[in-house]
């Protein structure tokens, strides 16, 4: 009898202490989301300025740049998959990987080879466990990405893209990342990074009409300098969005874990009380029975 109460007490104690951890992680994630969202917003002016400049160049001169030309036949596609370093973020990494699997499937169906580039230890573990090959992996700091990482990734991918197929290059580059729509909605999505599809700005007002620029030193070199930056800024944006999504997913996962723990504690407390009451009742009836036996004799 007493043993049962002790078991419940132990369960309550251990659930209470894990709940404290969940609560702490939820609070940490919540405070970091704000920061991550500020960083997403802080990177916007740069991205906008670059996009504007690129579309200005592309709308005026016929661009014939290796980064924007479509290859006639795509034999190999590189895919960059963004996941988290740490778990405890609900289905965040799993759904990004699922999205990636879907993309792999599609690309394979089109007769393309896949070359994987990974970000985050979760993706690495997923690939290692299945014994699959990947070109390169970046880990560390997925919840607070640095621009330097984005630049490194950008350089690697560019290099892959510019290499010939025979030397292990890829003719297409895709990025799988989790878009941060809102605190409750984050959706895994795919973006084709290279060859670039330069989105020409919709001219809505006459004031928005892009002026006729002069280039210094010349359009080709300006484009040469612009496009890699454009790519880096897009990768950085994807990294930042993924980081915000990761934190939001973690916050939600930790919140529901904490709620479940509260629920469990409530259940165990009820069970403990029942057990205690049963013990008391039994003791009482034993005493009463004992007294009756004495009176009868």
């Amino acid at each position: 009898m007493g043993a049962q109460i002790r078991v419940y007490r132990q369960k309550i104690a251990s659930t209470t202490s894990t709940r404290k951890i969940f609560k702490a992680m939820e609070l940490i994630a919540t405070s970091r989301i704000g920061k991550a969202r500020t960083r997403v917003a802080a990177a916007l002016p740069y991205a906008n300025a670059i996009t504007r400049a690129v579309s200005a160049v592309s709308s005026q001169s016929e661009i014939d740049h290796p980064l924007t030309t479509e290859h006639g036949e795509v034999r190999r596609a590189a895919v960059l998959v963004l996941t988290s370093d740490r778990g405890l973020a609900g289905s965040y990494s799993a759904s990004a990987l699922k999205q990636a699997e879907g993309l792999f499937e599609k690309l394979r169906g089109e007769g393309k080879e896949i070359q994987a580039y990974l970000v985050g230890r979760k993706a690495q573990a997923y690939f290692d466990f299945r014994g699959r090959d990947y070109e390169k992996v970046w880990t560390g700091g997925t919840d607070a990405p640095e621009f330097a990482t984005a630049r490194e990734i950008g350089e690697t991918l560019l290099e892959t893209f510019l290499r010939d197929y025979e030397d292990g290059g890829a003719e297409e580059i895709h990025v799988v990342y989790t878009k941060f729509r809102s605190m409750v909605v984050q959706e895994p999505s795919v973006m084709r990074l290279l060859p670039l599809e330069v989105v020409e700005e919709e001219v809505t007002q006459t004031g928005d009409l892009l002026p006729l620029y002069e280039y210094e030193p010349d359009p080709e070199q300006v484009l040469d300098a612009l496009l890699p930056r454009y790519i880096e800024s897009r990768i950085f944006a994807a990294l930042l969005q993924a980081a915000a999504s990761e934190l939001a997913a973690r916050q939600r996962a930790m919140k529901s874990a904490g709620d479940n723990a509260t629920e469990l504690i409530k259940k165990y407390t009820r069970l403990r009380n029942t057990a205690r009451q049963a013990e008391i009742t039994q003791e009482l009836s034993e005493i009463v029975a004992g007294a009756d036996a004495l009176n009868a004799s």
Binding site: R39, A42, A43, P45, Y46, A49, I50, R52, A53, A56, V57, F147, A150, G207, L210, P211, L212, Y213, E214, Y215, E216, P217, Q221, V222, A225, L226, R229, E232, S233, F236
Partner: protein, 97 residues
């Protein structure tokens, strides 16, 4: 749109906003050499060299900004300087990276 002889300058770095405000002139170093931008400059897109660029604001002291490369665009008196890494020196306290 600033029309009365003032430049509207905006300096942005990859992960943060650096400075913006009205200015009288901007001096920058491009791959071809030094370039000075005054109000009414023709639209231009140029590559920045690593080094210092200076902005002469309408109010306040001259602003020196160290950049590691990037580019800038000028159109209708709007100057957008996009730097890979920008540090404001001189009168303004350095921006935390």
């Amino acid at each position: 749109m600033a029309t009365h002889g003032e430049l509207e300058v905006e300096i942005v770095a990859a992960d943060h906003f650096v400075w913006s405000g009205p200015a009288r002139s901007v001096n920058a170093r491009t791959t071809n050499g030094q370039i000075g931008i005054l109000p009414g400059h023709t639209p231009i897109l140029a590559i920045l060299e690593a080094g210092e660029l200076s902005v002469e604001p309408v109010n306040g002291d001259r602003l020196e900004v160290g950049v590691d490369g990037g580019f800038f665009s000028v159109d209708s008196n709007r100057v957008v300087i996009v730097a890979d890494n920008a540090r404001v020196g001189g009168s303004v306290s350095p921006e935390a990276d």
